[in-house]
Amino acid sequence: MSATTAAWLVLLCPLVGTILIATGYRFWPGRSAGWLATAAIAASFVFSVITFIKLRGFSPDHRTLTSTLWNYDVSAGVDAKLQILVDPLSVFMILVVSGVSALIHLYSVTYMTLDRGFSRYFSYLNYFVLSMLLLVLAGNFLLLIVGWAFVGAASYLLISYWYRRTTATRAGIKAFVINVVGDVGLVIATFILFRHTGTVQFLGVFHAVPHTFAHNGGAINAAALLLLVGAFAKSAQVPLHTWLPDAMEGPTPVSALIHAATMVTAGVYLIARTHVIFEWAPTAADIGAIGGCATLVLAATVALVMTDIKRVIAYSTMSQIGYMIMGVCVGAYSAGLFHLMTHAFFKALLFMAAGSIIGAMAGEQSLDRMGGFRRALPFTFGCFIVGGLALSGLPPFSGWLSKDDVIAFLDHRAGAFLIMGIIAYAGALLTAVYTFRMIFRAFFGDPVLEARELEEGHLHHAEVPHNPMSGEEEDTDVGFPGPGHFIAEREVPMKVAMSALAVLAVIGGLVQIPGVDDAVTKFLDPSFADSKYAHTQVSTGSAWLGLIIGALIAVTGISIAYRIWVARPGTATRLRERFAGPYVFLWHKWYFDELIDFLVVRPALWTGRLVDSVVERSVIQGVFTGGASGAVRAGSAAVRRAQTGFVRYYAALMIVCISGVALYFLIASG
C-alpha cells in the first residue's frame, strides 16, 4: 500500500462510519453505533500510522506527495481536483487528529450511553472527524474550503446536539455564524491567490507567490490577512473568539474533541500550511502574532474569574492556541505544531476529567458548588493533576517543553518579539494560577454533599435535571441530556481513554528536548524547507534557559494559587472585593460580547429593519409587485365589461366576427 492510498483510506473510514450510522440509526442496538464509530476512527488512525511509516520510507526531499482521485473541472484556467497532499505536515496532523479522536470516541461510548440520540451523536462525531481530516489532507484551496466549511457545520451540529436546550441552540448558531465569517475570509483569500497565480493547488500557489507578488505588497498582505480572518475565526482568537466559551454547551466529549484538540487548531494548521504566503507578507504575519499574543493574555485573565469548570478550560484553550498562532506567525512552525500536539493530549485529558467531575455532580458545572473531590474521585483527580501540570508547564510534562519551545523562538528573534516573549511568560504565570485555582476549588477543601455521597459509594443524581447555565428544568428525553451520569472511576472505556491521554500528556513532550532530540522538527522539516526561518536554530543553551524560566514561572503560579485558594481560604473573596472594578471587567469577559453586539449585531439588525420597512415594503411591495398587480387588475376590469352573460349577445358577436373573417378572405382571394 502506498502512502497516498493509505491517506485516502484515512478519509474513507470515517466517511463509511458516518453513512452507516446515519442511515441505519434505527437498527443499531445498544451501544453498537458507538463501537462502530470508534472502530472507524481507530481504523483511520491505523491508516494514518501506515501513511506515516510509508512516508518515512522516502528520502526527506521526496516526502511531498500529491494524489488526485478525479478532476471536477480542469478548464479555462480552473483546476478543481479532488486532490490530497501528503507531506510531513499533513501526516503529523492526521496522526494527532485521528489518534486523539479515537480516544474521545471511546470515552463517548460510555459517556453518552443513556442519552437518547446515541446514534445521531456518533454519526455527527464521525462526520466531524471526516471533515477535520479532509481539511488537513486537502491538496488545494478548494478542498480546504470544503473541509473548513464541513468542520463549521459539524461544530454547529454537535454544539446544538441537545437541541431542546435553547442555550445550546443559540450557542450553535453563534459558533456557526462566526465560523462563516472565517469561511468568507478564506474564500476571498483563495480568490485573490487564484487571480494572481492562476491556480488553486497548494504547491502551485506556493511556488508562484514569490514571482507574482511584490514582497510585502498590498495584494499579498490582503490575501494573508483574509487567511488570518479564517484562521482567527476557527481558532477562536480575538476578536472572533466569543463563540468558543459558549460552545461549551455541547456534551463534554465534544468540547474535548472539537473545542480543544482538533477543530480550533485548524487555524494554526492553516497558517503553517500557507507559511510561504505569510513570510512573503510580514506585516500580516506580525498582525497575526500580535493577535495571538493579545488572545493568550486576554483569555488567561478571563479564565481567572470564570466559575464554570468547562468555560475555564475553554478560555485556557483560547490562551494556548494564542501561543500556537503566535508561534506559527513568527516562524516557529515546528514549535507551534509541537505545542498543538501536546496541547491536544493534555487539553482533551482535562476536558475528559472535567466530564467525570460533572458526572459526579449530576450535570452541575459551577466551581462554586464543587469541592473536596480528591478522595471521592482519585483517578479523575490524578488525570486532572497530570493535565493541569502539563498545561501549567511544569517539568517534565509535555506542555513545559512545547510552550517554552515557542517562547524561546520569540526571544531568539529579539526586538519587538522579545516583548511578546515576556507577555507569553506572563500568560504562562496566569495559566498556572487559573489551572490550579480550578484544581484546588474542585478537589481540595471540604467535600461537598455529592463528594461525601460518592465516598460512600453512591453517585449523586439530581431529582429534576436542569440546565446548568439557565437553571431551567428539563426532562431526559431526546434533545436533552440523558438520565445517566458517569464517572471515570467506574467505567472502563473512560478510564482507558483517560489513561492513554495521561501517559501521552506526560511523555508526549519527550520527543523534542533541546540538545537531546528534535524528532518533531526533523520530521516536519521537509514541509518548511522553503521557509526563511528553516535554518534559524535556537541555541541549546538559550532554549534550556527558557525552559528553566518557564518551570520557575509555573512553580510560582502554582504556589500563588495554593496561597490564595488552599493555605488562606477567603483570600479570593478579599481580592475580589478589593479589585471590584477589574473583577467585573473580567467577569464580563472584557465586554467583547457587548462590543460585538454594539458594533455588528445591532447595526445589522437596524439595517435589516430599515430595509424591511423601506425597501421591502415601499419599493418591492409598493412599486414592483404592487404596480404589476395594479396594472393587471385595471386591465382585467376593462376587459370584464365584455362578459355580459347574455348567450345571444355572444352568439351575435361570434356571427359578426366570423362573417368579418370570411369576408376578409373572400375579398383578399378575389
Binding site: 355580459t644 352573460g645 347574455f646 348567450v647 345571444r648 351575435a652 356571427i655
Partner: protein
C-alpha cells in the same frame, strides 16, 4: 342544375337559423335553430361534394350530423336540468356567467 341554387337554399336555411338563434329566447327553439344552421352548412357541403365528384364533403356532412346529435344531447340535457331546478326557461335570464 346549377350549384348556385343549392348554395342559395343553403344560405337561406343558415340565415333563418342564425336569425332564430339571435332573436328567440326559448332554449328549445334556439337548439332547433342551431340545427337549422348546421343543416344549411351540410347542404352546402353535399352540394360541393357533388360538384367535385368526390366523397370528402359527404364525409364532412356525416361528421357534422354526429356533432349535431352530440350537441342536441347536451343541449336537451341542459334544458331538462333547467326545468327540474325550476329555473326560468329563457336564455336571457341565465346570465350568471357575466364577468
Amino acid at each position: 342544375m346549377n350549384i348556385g341554387w343549392y348554395l342559395a337554399v343553403s344560405a337561406i336555411i343558415f340565415c333563418i337559423g342564425a336569425g332564430g338563434v339571435l332573436t328567440r329566447r326559448n332554449p328549445l327553439v334556439v337548439l332547433l335553430c342551431l340545427e337549422l344552421m348546421l343543416n344549411g352548412a351540410n347542404l352546402a357541403l353535399v352540394a360541393f361534394a357533388r360538384m367535385w365528384g368526390s366523397e370528402d364533403g359527404q364525409i364532412f356532412a356525416l361528421i357534422v350530423m354526429v356533432l349535431a346529435a352530440c350537441e342536441v344531447t347536451v343541449g336537451l340535457g341542459l334544458v331538462v336540468a333547467i326545468y327540474r331546478r325550476r329555473l326560468p326557461i329563457d336564455v336571457d335570464e341565465l346570465n350568471e356567467l357575466q364577468g
